[in-house]
């Protein structure tokens, strides 16, 4: 399918906070109470529309365990957006945000848009982190913030789309150099291909520039 831009996203955060569930809810609109463990990285993709333009999101869903950090660090490269997720029912996942943020800032390009997500907002009775705390952390570090529930789908669309909007604005402002692929943005094929979906997006991939 033809698209104007392709954004690479990376989802990070402690293990078990619901990264894969957020992705599944966003791409497949369903919830799996017990999701498979993510080893290394898994992938998702979805097309969204912003300002009348088709934007393809290519999402990298990473393993959360500390041991895998050295591996997942290399996946920041070329990401235009990051979703940093914690679990509002587990304070320790909130406490680790600083290390995650340091990692993200250090290994990504400086313009990467980071969205802070407090997930599992449906579990109000087990809440350990107040919404205000999340907001304060986001304000302090210049992040966008949202509380979501992958289970009820509350705010899930918004989280992914608002991040894209922010990236799109940055492109409009000229902050992002869209010709530099390291920024995690690719320009889609100039003319819509009439081929099937697969070869169409393949064309886009190649139009975006060969290997690096």
């Amino acid at each position: 399918m033809a698209y104007a831009y392709l954004f690479k996203y990376i989802i990070i955060g402690d293990t078990g906070v619901g990264k894969s569930c957020l992705l599944l809810q966003f791409t497949d609109k369903r919830f799996q109470p017990v999701h498979d463990l993510t080893i290394g990285v898994e992938f998702g993709a979805r097309m969204i529309t912003i300002d009348g333009k088709q934007i393809k999101l290519q999402i990298w869903d990473t393993a959360g365990q500390e041991s895998f950090r050295s591996i997942t660090r290399s996946y920041y490269r070329g990401a235009a957006g990051a979703l940093l997720v914690y679990d509002i029912t587990r304070r320790d996942t909130f406490n680790h945000l600083t290390t995650w943020l340091e990692d993200a800032r250090q290994h990504s390009n400086s313009n990467m848009v980071i969205m802070l997500i407090g997930n599992k907002s449906d579990l109000e009775s087990r809440r350990e982190v107040k919404k205000e705390e999340g907001e304060a952390f986001a304000r302090e570090h210049g992040l966008i913030f949202m509380e979501t529930s992958a289970k009820t789908a509350s705010n899930v669309e918004e989280a992914f789309i608002n991040t894209a909007k922010e990236i799109y604005e940055k492109i409009q402002e000229g902050v992002f150099d869209i010709n530099n692929e390291a920024n995690g943005i690719k320009i889609g094929p100039q003319h819509a291909t009439t081929n099937s979906t697969l070869s169409g997006s393949q064309g886009g991939q190649q139009a975006g520039g060969g290997c690096c």
């Binding site: 293990t15 078990g16 799996q32 017990v34 999701h35 498979d36 463990l37 080893i39 290394g40 990285v41 898994e42 992938f43 998702g44 993709a45 290519q58 393993a63 365990q65 500390e66 041991s67 895998f68 050295s70 591996i71 290399s74 304070r91 320790d92 406490n95 680790h96 290390t99 697969l198 070869s199 997006s201 393949q202 886009g204 991939q205 190649q206 060969g210 290997c211 690096c212």
Partner: protein, 486 residues
């Protein structure tokens, strides 16, 4: 064809007489019981009424019996026809030559045999008498359409029956070969393990996949016990783990702010979180499931036994597969020894440099065996770590169906780490055509979530086609950097 007819008429008369006598006996006893119970009230009217009812019932019963007699007669006729046909066939084989009267019966039998089930409910009737009759051509057309439908359904069902028969045959064959292999493994190979394990015959049998009930045994023997772990040692580490777990739940639950990330991660709490996320569709490892505590114990004991490695995600899958095939202590011994192999140690310690060496060696063989796909992946920037990490960390148990994964484990136990990477190439070969049509994101998604209907024989045929030779260099030579400079 005289004796069968005799037999037929005899059987018919026998059944008719049987049914008649049965009906008489039944009606008699029934009328008796009917006339006896009201006789207590001493009313003559009711007595005569009951007698009358008894008579009616006896008539109905005898009618029923005649009906059943007819049914039996039909069934016997059918049996007789079959007998006749068999007789004819035998006679034909003997060379006496089939006679003309049997010909239509032969056809009829065939019809009965393959009467399509799905169409028997279709009754072709004319319109009810209160409606105008169908025109002749319409009736004809309907008849023709019906015939076509029946023919189509017959064809379909015949095909389905053939497919089922073939499937059953295949299954029986498979079960037979498993049963045979089991005998060979139990009686010939296992008692002479050291002498036989490397013989050609055993290696070939091994490649076919181990029978499930010797699988654990062979894995244990093949993995070995270099670490000299005893069941007693396992018990010691298990009780240590339980102690730590207890003290953690007493003190650590709210005061873990101060604890370092690494401490918490190695804690048994994280293991708990992951156990239910191990093979969730099987349900047996989830809380309350029969293997939940077992998996918890093995992983907990391991973190106490090897604090230098600790618990790393992916381990739960390996331990789970072992638990499914071995007793608890044996599973632990195999688990600890398996993770002590160089490749597993490199991955579970997340030794990045060593892992890169493995990936580079894999790419050498990838390019050698599948140059087209290799180039395609290079262009779309799909690096092997993106899919190999999942495959190697869980030894394929997460990405392949469990039975296929176990067969991969079988040969992995035989051939060592090289086979893990060879399997990876086999998977790429199996799906080469599909992958060549995909872009980065589709390939990456495909490889991290392989199709569930993957066929083990087809996969292994692809693996065979992947010789692990680069020039004249073997896997270990390439991996150790004799060639690779990437």
């Amino acid at each position: 064809s005289v004796p069968p007819f005799c037999f037929f008429s005899l059987s018919l008369s026998f059944f008719l007489s049987l049914s008649l006598s049965l009906s008489v006996a039944l009606s008699f006893s029934l009328s008796l019981s009917f006339s006896l119970s009201p006789s207590l009230s001493l009313s003559s009217l009711s007595l005569s009424l009951s007698a009358c009812m008894g008579f009616v019932i006896s008539i109905i019963l005898s009618l029923k019996c005649i009906y059943w007699g007819c049914v039996f007669q039909f069934l016997w006729r059918f049996r007789f026809l079959m007998y006749l046909q068999e007789y004819e066939a035998r006679a034909g084989k003997a060379g006496s030559g089939g006679t003309s009267p049997t010909q239509p019966q032969h056809g009829r039998r065939k019809n009965l045999d393959f009467e399509p089930l799905s169409t028997t409910a279709l009754i072709l009737e004319d319109r009810p008498s209160n409606l105008p009759a169908k025109p002749v051509e319409e009736a004809q057309r309907h008849r023709q359409e019906y015939d076509e439908m029946v023919a189509e359904a017959k064809k379909r069902e015949l095909k389905e029956a053939q497919r089922k028969r073939k499937e059953m045959k295949e299954r029986f064959k498979q079960e037979d070969s498993i049963a045979n292999a089991m005998v060979v493994w139990n009686h010939d190979i296992l008692p002479n393990w050291d002498n036989m394990r490397n013989t050609r015959r055993v290696r070939e049998l091994w490649w076919q996949g181990l029978p499930p009930n010797v699988r654990g045994k062979v894995w244990s023997l093949a993995i070995g016990n270099e670490l000299n772990i005893t069941p007693e040692l396992y018990d010691i580490f298990l009780s240590r783990a339980k102690e730590r777990w207890r003290s953690f739940s007493e003190t650590g639950s709210e005061a873990d702010d101060g604890a370092s990330l690494a401490d918490r991660e190695s804690s048994l709490d994280l293991i708990k979180l992951d156990i239910s996320r191990t093979f969730p569709p099987l349900f047996i490892f989830q809380k309350g499931g029969p293997y939940h505590d077992l998996l918890h114990s093995v992983l907990g004991a391991y973190t106490c036994y090897r604090p230098d490695v600790g618990y790393v995600q992916g381990m739960s899958f390996i331990a789970a597969v072992l638990i499914l095939n071995l007793e608890e202590a044996d599973a632990f011994i195999a688990f600890a020894n398996l993770l002590n192999k160089p490749c597993q140690l490199a991955f579970f310690r997340v030794d990045h440099d060593l892992m890169l060496k493995y990936f580079a060696a894999f790419e050498v063989f990838f390019e050698e065996n599948l140059p087209r796909l290799f180039n395609h992946f290079q262009i779309s920037n799909l690096t092997p770590d993106l899919y190999l990490i999942d495959w190697i960390f869980t030894l394929y148990s997460k990405s392949l169906p469990l039975d296929v994964a176990c067969r991969v484990w079988d040969v992995f136990c035989r051939d060592g780490e090289e086979f893990l990477f060879r399997t990876g190439l086999g998977i790429l070969r199996l799906y080469e055509d599909v992958l060549l049509q995909m872009d980065f994101i589709h390939s990456a998604q495909f490889l991290t979530r392989l199709p569930e209907d993957i066929d083990s024989d087809r996969l292994f045929a692809c693996i065979v086609a992947m010789p692990m030779l680069n020039g004249n260099k073997k896997w270990s030579q390439v991996k150790n950097g004799d060639v690779c400079t990437e």
